[in-house]
């Protein structure tokens, strides 16, 4: 219980001491670590009964596809889901953390979680890390006050929209939404439109690909359609089969026993090539 002599920064505000140190290191010639951008197409739209979220399933590491079928639609609460673009680890960790906080909150209040609560927890966390947590999210859910759809940017700003897209394929997907979205879509029309938007991202953006994941959220009910569309099937086995040459015949078997003792000649001749 003794008072330790730790230097505590003044309460409130940000401490930018490490930023100066980073700048100094870069001047001295240090290569600052670059961020791995994972291309993605994620979308969300509000339809008459709730919210539909969609995402592609490609995770990239530069020019390589790291995961052909990853899950980008994350669970936040039974009635709230979140699509994540940006650094995969950041989106996973941040949505996991907020999901945990909301579970605790639900236990304390005895009520269903609200989308604005998830929104505020996410944006305050991202803001406090000043954009270094590279997570761009599309948050959607249906709660007591109705269906909600929000976008959250890595620096902590948010938008509330009837339809939204994020990620490297967002322009391709937004083009589809802007031309075909209207209010009061039915569930099937909404799913169709989301699938089209994601497919547009998959085919026109290098950073997005593989399959389409969709999540339909309505009052008191959720439908997670994993791999709803698979426009890029991967055949692993050649249909013709592989033909290998016949096994070679064994003509002779000779076993040479190991020597019991070996004499080491120091300074001997080098081995001939």
């Amino acid at each position: 219980m003794s008072k330790a002599a730790i230097e505590v920064p003044p309460k409130g505000g940000f401490s930018f001491d490490l930023c100066r140190r980073n700048e100094m290191l870069v001047k001295k010639g240090l290569n600052a670590p670059s961020f791995l951008k994972t291309g993605t197409t994620i979308v969300g739209l509000v339809f008459q009964d709730g919210v539909i979220l969609g995402a592609d399933t490609r995770a990239t590491e530069g020019p390589i596809v790291a995961d052909k079928n990853c899950e980008k639609i994350h669970y936040i609460a039974p009635n709230i889901y979140c699509c994540g673009a940006g650094t995969a680890a950041d989106t996973e960790a941040v949505t996991d953390m907020v999901s945990s906080q909301l579970t605790l909150h639900r236990h304390h209040t005895g009520r269903e979680s609200r989308v604005v609560t998830a929104l505020t927890l996410l944006k305050s966390h991202l803001f406090s890390y000043q954009g270094y947590v590279s997570a761009a999210l599309v948050l959607g859910g249906v709660d007591f006050t109705g269906p909600h759809l929000h976008t959250i940017y890595p620096h902590g700003s948010t938008d509330t929209l009837p339809f939204a897209t994020m990620g490297s394929g967002s322009l391709a997907a937004m083009a589809v939404f802007e031309s075909k979205y209207r209010e009061g879509l039915t569930r099937d029309e909404g799913v169709q439109l989301v699938a089209e938007a994601i497919s547009s991202g998959i085919f026109n953006d290098l950073g997005s690909g593989s399959n389409v994941d969709i999540c339909v959220l309505t009052k008191g009910h959720k439908e997670y359609l994993r791999n709803h569309l698979q426009p890029n099937p991967r055949t692993y086995i050649s249909e013709k089969g592989y033909s290998f040459s016949k096994k070679t015949e064994v003509l002779l078997t000779k076993i040479t026993p190991l020597r019991d003792s070996v004499h080491i000649i120091e300074g001997g001749d080098e081995m001939e090539e």
Partner: protein, 235 residues
Amino acid sequence: MGDSQYSFSLTTFSPSGKLVQIEHALTAVGSGQTSLGIKAANGVVIATEKKLPSILVDETSVQKIQSLTTNIGVVYSGMGPDFRVLVRKSRKQAEQYHRLYKESIPVTQLVRETATVMQEFTQSGGVRPFGVSLLVAGYDDKGPQLYQVDPSGSYFSWKASAMGKNVSNAKTFLEKRYTEDMELDDAVHTAILTLKEGFEGQISGKNIEIGIIGNDRKFRVLSPAEVDDYLQEVE
């Protein structure tokens, strides 16, 4: 924990080797309202009296039985505010366990962590022990379980147990009535009868609380209407 001026513990040994503060805490528990728990073959039931200080108190605002996770519930005897603090801490510990290991916390682990918290308050500077004993009911992969945690931080697994004012009568009653292969519904009836033994006044769904957890592994507190139904079955 505690102000820096109080770096010494207020809970100190007596010459006879007892921790008097803990004895007093147990006395506080013993003068609290009766609560009990019964472990059935396919679930656990916990129950408590809910005697309010006046008829003017809104009984719907008081909930003595709380859930710690979806499959673990808890009831107490003793000081209500101390219980509230423990419930908050336990819920957080359960959620931290889940974040770390991505599995629901086993009942024994949660009981152990709660007991650790209670023990810390008997050995830290400037704090007093908690004035509650808890009955933790849970259903996990090991099946239905019932644990009692005391202010000292010791915990025991019980097949059936009672705490509070009427503890000796209640325990005697439970010893007579308990069978290993009891079903959850029978256990609820037994719990009601045990509470009725020492109950002053008219028992109803408004002045007792019952929490159950069955094979579905979902802990829930019965509504007053459901409790009244069980009461009618018992009569």
